[in-house]
Symmetry: C3
Subunit: 119 residues, 3 copies
Amino acid sequence: MSSSIKRIGNSPRWSDIVLYQGVARWVEVADDTSDDERGQIQQVLRQIDQTLCEIGSSRQQMLQIIVHLSSLQSVDELNRQWDQWVPQGNAPVRACVQSGLGGNCLVEMVIEAAVVSGS
Amino acid sequence: MSSSIKRIGNSPRWSDIVLYQGVARWVEVADDTSDDERGQIQQVLRQIDQTLCEIGSSRQQMLQIIVHLSSLQSVDELNRQWDQWVPQGNAPVRACVQSGLGGNCLVEMVIEAAVVSGS
Amino acid sequence: MSSSIKRIGNSPRWSDIVLYQGVARWVEVADDTSDDERGQIQQVLRQIDQTLCEIGSSRQQMLQIIVHLSSLQSVDELNRQWDQWVPQGNAPVRACVQSGLGGNCLVEMVIEAAVVSGS
């Protein structure tokens, strides 16, 4: 288990992913925020899949997801997609709250996942 | 310190607790959300105690608690109960913010605690 | 890497910083909340620097910062100061949401940083 910090996708403002001691941390918002809630949730879950793949992790290794929705009216749509997406028996811990989000962002997720080999 | 992931209380939607590398992560809301703020805060703190006991941790090993209140008017009641509950000299880091919460939920806490043996 | 918990700045209500297994967790709000958004953001970033110094970490070792702003109108000012402050190529993961904050608090940040030697 490496104790060095690995950063992926450095923009000047933030890293897309930070890996440290077997835990990957990242934040996901929809790439295209012109989409409606259904589309943005779909994008975010797909983007999480892509990131999990990129770092050699998987849906089965997610530890925690904090979901920020701009409106609690999106909870039903979130749950509808989430329940199809999350691996039963290996689901992460989840919190879901309404927060004000910038731009046209309707959903923002903060994710922690395990990465087994010291990436 | 085990590097495998242990999940407790898997519902289809989330795990109640995820343990990984000596850290337990979980989210607590009141089991009975028909209660008022005083009752819900009381429930959540008791439920945290139960979880700490279940995983072989303790109040003295809590690392961080993020408190989401549906109303900032609940801060005084939170602090009144919190100050009795938290172990002086071994308190966790705490953030407390107002967020929109689903259902009749008045308080939601996101907890990280240390688990010493590799559970 | 020590597996014991180290706490710094214990008040009765919370620890200022908790260090565990090479990760420091803490929460920062402006010491002087009579200041405006510009001043409070400036204070919080300076206080983070002080804490990083105190624990033997650095801006280059920050893992994640969750920013809670009391108003999304503060995002531009946050970004203006943040972009000068954050080390390019070694930025942490960042989420930024609007949450209700207590007192006169305009910004609250939840920080995780790596601490290399087992402090």
